[in-house]
């Protein structure tokens, strides 16, 4: 990956709403080149989407999130991809990862109530033949999400002018 592409991705990770003009200013590319590079990244699957990070508490929206650990047992007909494909079907799933360690999949789930999450686990995950165990951890508070801190630690206490 060249330096301009790396800068482009850094800029988007920091702020996915950056205008093409600002992306051009930050990367040293011209606007047309930025558009072209973005199209290539999207086409190749390197750029999978542009999303917002919302602190739902701040807008008084009831939102329940959980991390569900899922253990599975494979057989000759079923592999991890098959199971993952099935679990990922649910709109409640925010992220799904195959893990090393004590369990196989980590599923980040969200819904408007604990009932939503429970239903997802009991009706969409647990009944799968390959699933041997689930453990659900409800999120009590979010402090940082995809690099963005939800707490106010950003006070700049530097002097306003220094050498």
């Amino acid at each position: 990956m060249d330096e301009a592409t790396r800068s482009l991705l850094d800029a988007l990770v920091a702020d996915a709403r950056e205008s093409t003009a600002d992306l051009a200013r930050q990367t040293g590319l011209d606007e047309a080149a930025v558009e072209e590079r973005l199209a290539e990244l999207e086409e190749s699957g390197a750029l999978r989407g542009y999303t917002a990070i919302v602190d739902w508490d701040a807008v008084d929206e009831e939102r329940v999130s959980a991390v569900v650990e899922v253990n599975v047992e494979l057989d000759r007909e079923t592999d991890y991809d098959d199971i993952a494909r099935r679990i990922a079907e649910s709109p409640a799933v925010d992220s799904l990862r195959l893990m090393s360690g004590d369990y196989d999949f980590a599923v980040n789930v969200s819904g408007s109530s604990m009932g939503d999450v429970s239903r997802f686990v009991s009706e969409e995950v647990a009944p799968l033949p390959a699933v041997t165990k689930t453990v659900t951890h409800y999120v009590m508070e979010t402090f940082k999400e995809r690099g963005i801190r939800f707490t106010d630690h950003d006070d700049d206490d530097r002097l306003s002018v220094t050498p």
Binding site: S7, A24, R25, S160
Partner: protein
């Protein structure tokens, strides 16, 4: 004690009506006089105190920092977006902070060796090999209380009264006062916007630096962000060899180089033996408040600087030295992350300035841009421009003259601030210009 300057027994700058004009004559030192509950007594007008503490001539001869003066103005406003901060907006990487905490928990609060902890000197010596530098950690590295102390030590160790010290201008604010405090004579060498602020043998010759004793280099540069390429550095090195100049190379921004590799004058043929290289942890590792720097050079140079250091400072702060070891050993990724972030901001700021019709050289390092505002400033005066920009739009950028006469017509913009603030500052600048 130096001479009194006016030949009549009164020290310069003490005004009139001062009794004996002799600082030590009355014997009534404020700390021991009076003993009132309110503390040290003060004269009605404070004149007696100022007579006692009339500065030495070499101190009196140095004007207050132009940055400090501007700081006073900026500090009195609460809506300021500051582009005047020469300090990373990142926090020191956690492994460095953790090592500092750990050192305190273990009670490592003693002095270290004058030269600094050997572990740290070894780590430093290993680290600078990436710039092609090679120093013996036992005898050729000195750990100091910030790079600032290292600069001061170099001047005090190698500048004799009356020696000429060539200072490319514009440059960091502390060099000229440091030279004067050491009794030397600063010789300004004007670098030019048209040369992207690189130092050239022609500029050195024009300024008379062939007769100088010492040359101070600061690349990547504060305030211009300029770097030198290999050929340019070769040419300066040749000049130094030809005219037998000792070089103090302040490379505090070496790790914040964006285009190409950092070029150190000390790696040129015949230069290691005449160069003291200075570096530190403030900029690359965002450890400004931990005050840790270092100097590297041939043993006799480091011996001389250590002699001054051991009487003035004894040793650099122990806690900070522990943090520095961790910084070198465990924080490369963080440094690279910060460098990339500065790089994006650099491109953004330069692009916006140019779109606004303001000329600016491409800064190759540090975190400063040094745009030319003479054409858009009242009477071409960059100081007036900076003041009006601050007053009208609440954007603080430092007038270029704070960095010497070579900064006329320019302002320094620091991009060690978040992109959102930079965008807002540039929008305000655009409004100010329209």
């Amino acid at each position: 004690m130096s001479g009194n300057g006016n030949g009549n027994g009164e020290r310069a700058g003490n005004g009139e009506g001062v009794g004996d004009g002799d600082r030590a004559g009355t014997g009534d030192h404020p700390a021991t006089d009076g003993g009132t509950a309110e503390g040290s007594p003060r004269t009605e007008e404070g004149e007696e105190d100022s007579a006692r503490f009339a500065p030495a001539d070499r101190v009196e001869s140095v004007p207050p920092s132009g940055i400090r003066e501007f700081f006073e103005v900026a500090e009195n406003r609460d809506d300021v977006i500051s582009l005047g901060v020469g300090e990373p907006d990142f926090t020191a990487p956690w492994p460095a902070r953790s090592a500092a905490i750990d050192s305190l928990e273990r009670g490592r609060t003693s002095y270290t060796a004058n030269r600094g902890m050997l572990d740290l000197r070894r780590a430093i010596a290993e680290r600078v090999t990436r710039y092609g530098q090679s120093y013996d950690p036992d005898s050729e590295v000195l750990v100091t209380t910030g790079a600032s102390e290292a600069v001061d030590l170099a001047f005090r160790a190698f500048v004799n009264p009356g020696d000429t010290v060539a200072l490319p201008t514009p440059t960091y604010v502390s060099y000229e006062p440091g030279v004067r405090f050491a009794g030397g004579e600063p010789l300004p060498v004007h670098t030019r916007h048209e040369d992207d602020w690189a130092l050239t043998p022609e500029a050195l010759r024009e300024a008379g630096a062939d007769e100088a004793d010492v040359l101070v280099l600061c690349y990547p540069n504060n305030p211009t962000g300029a770097t030198m390429d290999a050929d340019e550095m070769d040419a300066v090195a040749a000049f130094c060899r030809e005219h037998d100049l000792l070089v103090v190379a302040d490379e505090i921004y070496a790790a914040l180089t964006y285009d190409g590799d950092h070029q150190s004058v000390a790696t040129r043929t015949g230069m290691r033996e005449r160069t003291v290289v200075i570096n530190g942890f403030s900029k690359a590792y965002a450890m400004t408040g931990l005050r840790l720097g270092y100097a590297m050079g041939p043993k006799p140079a480091i011996d001389a600087m250590t002699k001054v250091h051991q009487y003035a400072m004894l040793s650099a702060p122990t806690t900070a030295q522990h943090a520095a070891v961790a910084a070198i050993e465990r924080c490369d990724d963080e440094v690279e992350r910060m460098r990339r972030e500065y790089d994006r901001r650099r491109r953004y700021v330069v692009s916006r300035l140019r779109e606004l019709g303001i000329e600016v050289s491409e800064p190759g390092g540090a975190f400063y841009a040094f745009p030319r505002v003479a054409e858009v400033a009242p009477d071409g005066d960059a100081r007036a421009f900076a003041t009006e920009l601050l007053e009208a739009e609440g954007v603080a950028a430092v007038p270029g003259t704070a960095f010497g006469t070579g900064g006329e017509g320019h302002i320094r913009i620091s991009y060690a601030t978040g992109l959102d603030d930079l965008k807002e500052a540039m929008a305000r600048l655009e409004r100010f210009l329209s």
